[in-house]
């Protein structure tokens, strides 16, 4: 009997082209994504006189630098000449190399980590790369997906493979059942708060347990998206019928006999009983509340009912020093209730929380209510934007006084000009509350879409469950 293997082991083993005695493995990459920021890699490739070796395995999408307003004008809607240049440069690099390109005008345009699963480019068992740390998202469908820098991206473009050391494995099991109003975002923020932003460094995280299994595909994508915020090399979830149902019929998913073959292979992917992980962590999902970050690191998160912590009560000296600095930057006082924090604006969207379920959750809170602060919604893809409009969600946002924008990375990466002004406090459904992330001097509080919608209504951090209950 061969030793029982994890989901990760199975994917890794099937992609190793060969392994050197020193442990260095050459790994086949199934699918690679590029975006406007990939110009360094394309430039370096051209400088070497090389072209993309397997163009059919790379997919390009304009997301990081695209404007979210005035999109009927196409690339000219970008006010910044550098941004226009980068959007065009991506198109040009794709044309030269024969790479499929979902440009700013394409009906399938959207955030790379939203459209991959949406178009079925992302499938179970694949190795997937992109020059973006949130590539971990795709692991929610049972893939090994990870971000790289420009040099490794160049290597993938040139060779369709990558030299890697086998990472370690960490299983995070979330037991119990989530209380109403608690979402995938809250689960992953609670995991990061527990293990820390370096908690999974060097490891691939497999999320498991009844809570994870009970999440929708959208919720699973949110959880895996933020695996990188726990330091994880990747995040993944064993594929199941929910994944196969989600994928069936999507543009890049096999059909007919190939679908049957693929499905039979996918069903073999979940880890074997008794497979060993290098580390194990578990959490009681039943105890979780909606989570909110108070600091400038995603691990600086607490349940919405909590108070801003006193730095000296926190973990080690590093965490205490970080928290002291963070509270000064965030202009918060220890001991104050999180629900007493005033919010100046809100952003709903991003590769973390820009999917249909997220938009529906926010709309459910905003329906019949009015925004107390400026806010906008940027759907994760143009396809999703149309879907949301067909469901009437755009009307709910607009009637509440919330802007309904076009799709892109928008205020999460804040590369396209959608920045939060200095000193302003933003309730954001994105993934990073780093200093200056949403703009120089901007203050970010991460939370779920329903929680952000509640903050839009009240202008302060609010427990959405209480708002909906009329308390």
């Amino acid at each position: 009997m061969p030793a029982p293997r994890t989901l990760f082991d199975k994917i890794w083993d099937s992609h190793v082209i060969f392994e050197k005695p020193d442990g260095d493995a050459l790994l086949h990459i199934d699918r690679n994504f590029v975006h406007e920021g990939s110009f360094h890699a394309f430039g370096a490739l051209a400088k070497d006189g090389r072209k993309v070796r397997m163009p059919s395995q790379t997919f390009a999408v304009a997301d990081h630098y695209v404007p979210t307003v005035g999109r009927e004008r196409g690339v000219d809607a970008a006010e910044d000449a550098d941004a226009r240049h980068m959007i065009r440069l991506l198109e040009e690099n794709c044309r030269i190399n024969g790479v499929a390109h979902f440009g700013i005008d394409d009906a399938r345009q959207g955030i790379v980590h939203v459209i991959g699963p949406e178009l079925g480019i992302t499938q179970p068992g694949l190795t997937i790369t992109c020059g973006d740390s949130h590539t971990s998202t795709h692991g929610a469908l049972g893939a090994y997906a990870f971000g790289t820098g420009a040099s490794q991206l160049k290597q993938i473009l040139a060779t369709q493979c990558l030299w890697l050391k086998r990472p370690k494995t960490l299983r995070v099991t979330v037991n119990g059942k989530l209380a109403p109003g608690v979402t995938g975002k809250d689960v992953v923020l609670a995991i990061i708060a527990k293990i820390g932003t370096a908690g999974a460094t060097g490891h691939v995280i497999e999320f498991a347990g009844p809570v994870i299994r009970g999440l929708s595909i959208e919720g699973r994508l949110t959880v895996c998206n933020m695996a990188i915020e726990a330091g994880g090399r990747a995040g993944m979830i064993a594929p199941d019928d929910a994944v196969y149902e989600y994928l069936h019929g999507r543009e890049y998913v096999p059909r007919g006999a190939d679908w049957d073959t693929a499905l039979a292979q996918w069903r073999l992917l979940p880890g074997d009983d008794g497979a060993r992980f290098d580390r194990e962590v578990s959490l009681d999902g039943a105890k979780l509340e909606p989570m909110v970050t108070w600091g400038t690191s995603p691990e600086e998160a607490l349940p919405v009912s909590a108070r801003v912590p006193e730095p000296k009560t926190l973990g080690d000296a590093n965490q205490q020093a970080h928290a002291t600095h963070a509270l000064a930057y965030m202009d918060l006082k220890p001991g104050m209730l999180l629900t007493d924090i005033k919010i100046d604006r809100a952003f709903i969207g991003s590769c973390t929380n820009g999917r249909i379920e997220d938009l529906r959750a926010a709309a459910a809170v905003l329906k019949g209510r009015k925004a107390a602060i400026p806010a906008w919604v940027s759907p994760g893809s143009t396809t999703l934007k149309r879907q949301a409009e067909s469901e009437g969600l755009d009307r709910i946002f607009l009637d509440a006084g919330v802007e309904w924008r076009a799709s892109g990375c928008s205020s999460c990466a804040a590369m396209n000009g959608d920045t939060v002004p200095a000193g302003m406090r933003c309730a954001s459904t994105s993934n990073r509350n780093f200093e200056g992330r949403q703009g120089k001097g901007a203050r970010t509080h991460l939370m779920s879409p329903a929680m952000a919608a509640a903050a839009i209504v009240t202008g302060r951090v609010t427990d959405v469950r209480k708002l909906l209950a009329g308390e």
Binding site: I17, G149, A150, Q152, Q155, T197, A198, I228, H322, G436
Partner: protein, 204 residues
């Protein structure tokens, strides 16, 4: 790629953990072209280093005269966490930093340093703290890194051994290019791909 063997350079103490790559280089500079004429050095730690009017903040460590020619940075845990941006490495390298010593690194940033001939040195928390204390006591002091011997020698002459994967070590010592190493294996790769895609024709 420029090989890395030994480095004897001014080391700057950076007394912070969880330095994310957004801090190392703010996002608005990632669109900048980088070539022989225009490096990424002006953007390194930009928003910590300069005020709103672009003036140097005198209290920021890299703005202190003793550390201006630093070639080594000694940081806290989880250096380079967050975004995968390789611009963080370009900024460090173009400023003149060729090695970062820290208790731990963000995985992607660690790989990015190696890809550019920079040496990420992992040493225990207490040793990193000790090094920073020495460097704060003697601003402008140098540290000596010896990659073949895998040691960092501090200002007192004590050598601290560090671990590095032998594969990474050899690539740094020889300045090897990953793509060149792959292309040597092209026949093996093609054989693999044919067999792999034969079982999964929809992926070919």
């Amino acid at each position: 790629m420029k090989p890395f063997t030994t480095l004897n350079a001014v080391a700057v103490p950076f007394d912070m953990a969880n330095i994310d790559t957004d801090r190392i280089i703010p996002v608005r500079f990632l669109r900048k072209l980088r070539n022989d004429k225009a490096g990424y050095d002006p953007y390194l730690f930009h928003d910590m280093r300069f005020d709103a009017d672009g003036r140097e903040k005198p209290e920021f460590v890299l703005n202190q005269p003793a550390y201006r020619n630093a070639g080594i940075l000694v940081a806290g845990a989880n250096f380079g966490c967050g975004s995968s941006r390789e611009g963080a490495v370009y900024a460090l390298l173009d400023y003149g930093i060729r090695a970062v010593i820290a208790p731990s690194f963000g995985d992607i940033h660690y790989a990015n340093e190696l890809q550019n001939g920079m040496l990420p040195v992992t040493l225990p928390e207490e040793i990193c703290r000790g090094l920073r204390q020495q460097l704060q006591a003697q601003p402008g002091a140098t540290l000596a890194i010896d990659l073949p011997a895998q040691t960092v020698t501090d200002t007192l002459g004590d050598a601290h051994p560090f671990m590095i994967d032998p594969v990474y070590k050899e690539r740094l010592l020889k300045g090897l290019d990953d793509i060149g190493l792959v292309m040597e294996q092209l026949p093996t790769i093609e054989t693999f791909e044919q067999a792999y895609h034969a079982q999964r024709p929809w992926l070919a």
